[in-house]
């Protein structure tokens, strides 16, 4: 498969109703060019799995404002009042998940685990509908894997085999999401030749990445 593709080729794979993971933390480390492409293309009824819904005018928040998201599975919506409004008025479904649980659920899907046991959320409404498992008198919630049709991630640098290097706090959910979707599309700032990234410095091995889109810097 050709790995380096145009934005249009990448967008061709994202269709109405799909479940899409989007990397980033308050839009830091989000694939902003691909998100703008989704807005232009008008793909709708998406189920989005992400850390948060960012801001109304930035990152995933723009997809919220543009009403392209049917359901958001996120840990936080406080920075985007429009998400709260749509949720309260029943326009958009929002499932709030503790951030660490969200990270482990995505990782579990990528790692072939059937679930993980976490103490997070015990005694709160997060435990509703979930199996509780007691181990040596300590209770845990059984949380299930979260996977997606598509993962849209963002890296600082890629080689042409798809090996990725992230920058600073823009790493966040990107490496996890790269493992947990049927198709992984990475937006990258810089594209280098194979061999230019030291194998010890690769943060996401190229085997996880299906397509690379050159983004802005």
């Amino acid at each position: 498969m050709k790995k380096v593709v145009s934005l249009e080729e990448a967008l061709d794979n994202i269709r109405d109703g799909m479940t899409v993971m989007i990397g980033g933390f308050l839009a830091v480390g989000s694939p902003l060019k691909i998100i703008d492409g989704l807005i232009e293309k008008g793909v709708k009824d998406l189920t989005v799995i992400a850390n948060d819904t960012a801001f109304p005018d930035r990152g995933i928040g723009k997809l919220i404002v543009n009403k392209q998201i049917k359901k958001a599975i996120v840990s936080h919506i406080g920075t985007n009042p429009e998400t709260g409004r749509q949720m309260n008025e029943g326009e958009t479904e929002v499932e709030l998940v503790p951030q660490g649980t969200l990270a482990e659920q995505i990782r579990a899907a990528g790692a072939g685990l059937g679930g993980i046991l976490t103490p997070t959320g015990l005694g709160t409404i997060v435990e509703q509908g979930k199996q509780k498992i007691k181990i040596d008198d300590k209770e845990f919630l059984l949380e299930l894997p979260l996977k997606a049709d598509i993962a849209l991630i963002k890296a600082k640098k890629a080689d042409k085999k798809g090996n990725l290097v992230y920058n600073k706090s823009a790493r966040n959910f990107n490496p996890l999401m790269a493992t947990a979707a049927d198709l992984v599309i990475a937006e990258v700032e810089e594209l280098v030749e194979v061999g230019e990234i030291d194998p010890d410095e690769v943060m996401t091995p190229g085997i996880f990445v299906d397509m690379i889109v050159k983004g802005g810097e």
């Binding site: 933390f25 951030q99 709160t124 600073k168 706090s169």
Partner: protein
């Protein structure tokens, strides 16, 4: 005291709880201010749940790096000796008990150490973000908040009425009026604000306070 003074007083008092070498996660808002008041000679390592340790002060204007923010999305710096990692590792650090203390705000906290700080049903639902993991995982959970809500309504209750963030995880409550420890017998009033009596604090608190025989004045 005005709002700013109140917040500074709380942040200053919380800062004294941190010990040299502690790994600390500060929540968004007032808890973030604690970093400004860490005593001389005490070095704490700040963890930022969006993916690093070694959180430093805000950069000079014009020096902001769009790829380097704190968990509130504000531009920050990383100190020498810091390290970046992904969100799974970040919460492995948090959930795995590698954070010595976390400082969080609260809407309500009760005498069992229950905490509610992530939603007011039908009104404000920002989401829990990393707060549920932090309260469960950190070795010490410190609540930094104004003692009462608008109109003097108590926030320190017999029992939280809002949806919980975590059950029985709070260790210490620091307000502008008092320092209160959560013990298995209930809430122990350890310090009162300058010029206040234990009774003043009790009057602003719904939960019954146990008065520490060594009750002190808050030194801030």
């Amino acid at each position: 005291m005005d709002k700013k003074q109140i917040r500074e007083r709380i942040a200053k008092r919380v800062a004294k709880e941190l010990k040299d070498g502690d790994i600390v996660n500060l929540g968004i808002g007032m808890p973030t201010m604690v970093a400004n008041f860490i005593p001389e000679g005490v070095e704490v390592i700040l963890q930022s749940e969006n993916g690093f340790v070694g959180l430093g002060p805000a950069p000079a204007e014009g020096e902001e790096d769009p790829d380097l923010t704190n968990a509130g999305g504000q531009p920050v710096t990383i100190l020498p000796g810091g390290a970046f990692f992904d969100s799974a590792q970040s919460f492995a650090i948090i959930r795995g008990g590698h954070v010595d203390a976390t400082v969080l705000g609260a809407l309500q906290v009760d005498e069992k150490g229950n905490l509610a700080n992530w939603m007011i049903p039908g009104k404000m639902v920002p989401g829990m973000g990393g707060a549920m993991d932090l309260t469960v995982g950190a070795k010490k959970v410190i609540i930094a908040m104004e003692h009462t809500a608008k109109g003097g309504k108590p926030k320190i209750l017999k029992q939280c009425t809002l949806p919980l963030t975590a059950k029985e995880q709070v260790n210490l409550i620091v307000t502008e009026m008092a320092v209160i420890e959560v013990t298995k017998d209930g809430l122990l009033l350890k310090e009162v604000g300058r010029g206040l009596t234990a009774e003043d604090v009790q009057n602003a608190t719904e939960a019954q306070l146990i008065i520490d025989p060594n009750l002190k004045e808050m030194d801030v």
